[in-house]
């Protein structure tokens, strides 16, 4: 079984209102030294073991580009690992 761990975040330069709100909250809790925060979404896909690593990567990328992220505003990264049941 392949496991893809995917993180989707806003691209640099796009003001993320959620991250800004968290940063503001941290500031009022006394963590004024936090310079920047990135917020995002995390996904974990389990792909069947019959796929080659290349095929599993290709499918992960396709899913990220097609639906899990919006390339206009977001970028994604992933880690693929083989797990033994």
């Amino acid at each position: 079984m392949w496991k893809a761990k995917i993180i989707v975040t806003y691209k640099p330069g796009i003001l993320d209102p959620e991250a800004k709100t968290i940063q503001h909250a941290l500031g009022s809790l006394g963590y004024g030294n936090i310079q920047d925060i990135t917020a995002g979404r995390f996904f974990e896909l389990s792909l069947d073991a019959g796929l080659s690593q290349a095929a599993a990567e290709a499918q992960t990328r396709e899913i990220c580009e097609k639906i899990l992220s919006n390339p206009v505003i977001q970028k994604y990264s992933y880690e693929l690992s083989e797990t033994v049941l």
Partner: protein, 228 residues
């Protein structure tokens, strides 16, 4: 003239829009279930507001893969008029029919309030009833109405006169103070290149009867009703 209103799971302004077209304008209108695959019968398509698929993942992200969207993309490419209101606008952006994206409001609040809008481009089939620069009052009701596009896209929208509506004050001044959600260039609505597709965050269907406080949205539907 037959209007079609697309119904996704989670649409909730479909009945309001239907009411305005049938009862206020007296025109023919039909619901289109999102699994429909033919739009040949219709002279204009409306994607209504709501929370299609619970807004899961991103607003409009799941709805754009509904079977009907493939037909709507084709319908729009053939020149058919498509109006996306609120969640409908979000779906049009996700589907690529319009450029840019809508992200959560700058202040991370759901906004439900009347806004003023400046009509920028009045000569289209959505806005013939309005005059250039006319100030409209309509409600907004959204959490993700903060329009974003990169600088090249914004410049293209300006150069091609594709900005349809901008948030403004009561006198029509487009100011930062009149921008409720952080949208780039105070954008409340944009056209596609051929101006047969309009996406907008405000709700014209909620401002189409005097008893509801404003009739300013009615012109949008009346414009569509006018024969070209």
């Amino acid at each position: 003239m037959k209007f079609g209103i697309v119904v996704f799971p989670g649409s909730n302004c479909d009945h309001d829009t239907y009411h305005v077209i049938r009862k206020v304008l007296g025109a023919d209108v039909f619901y289109i279930w999102h699994k429909e695959t033919s739009l040949r019968l219709f002279d204009a398509i409306i994607l209504p507001g709501g929370f299609s698929y619970g807004d899961y993942l991103r607003v409009g992200a799941v709805a754009r893969f509904s079977p009907v969207m493939k037909e709507i993309v084709q319908y729009a490419k053939e020149g058919g008029p498509v109006l996306g209101i609120c969640n409908g606008f979000q779906i049009l952006l996700e589907s690529g029919l319009l450029p840019g994206a809508l992200i959560p409001n700058e202040k991370m609040r759901f906004l439900c309030q009347d806004v003023h809008l400046k009509v920028i481009n009045h000569a289209t089939r959505f806005s013939k009833q309005y005059t250039e620069g006319q100030v409209l009052r309509m409600p907004i009701a959204h959490y993700s109405g903060n329009y974003f596009a990169d600088d090249d896209t914004l410049k293209r929208l300006q150069d091609q006169e594709r900005i349809a509506l901008q948030y403004c004050d009561a006198e029509g001044n487009v100011t930062a103070a009149a921008n409720p959600n952080g949208s780039k260039l105070n954008i409340a609505g944009i056209y596609n290149e051929y101006k047969n597709v309009l996406g907008m965050m405000p709700h014209p269907e909620r401002a189409a009867e005097a008893v509801l406080g404003s009739e300013d949205g009615l012109g949008m539907f009346k414009s569509l009703l006018e024969r070209n």
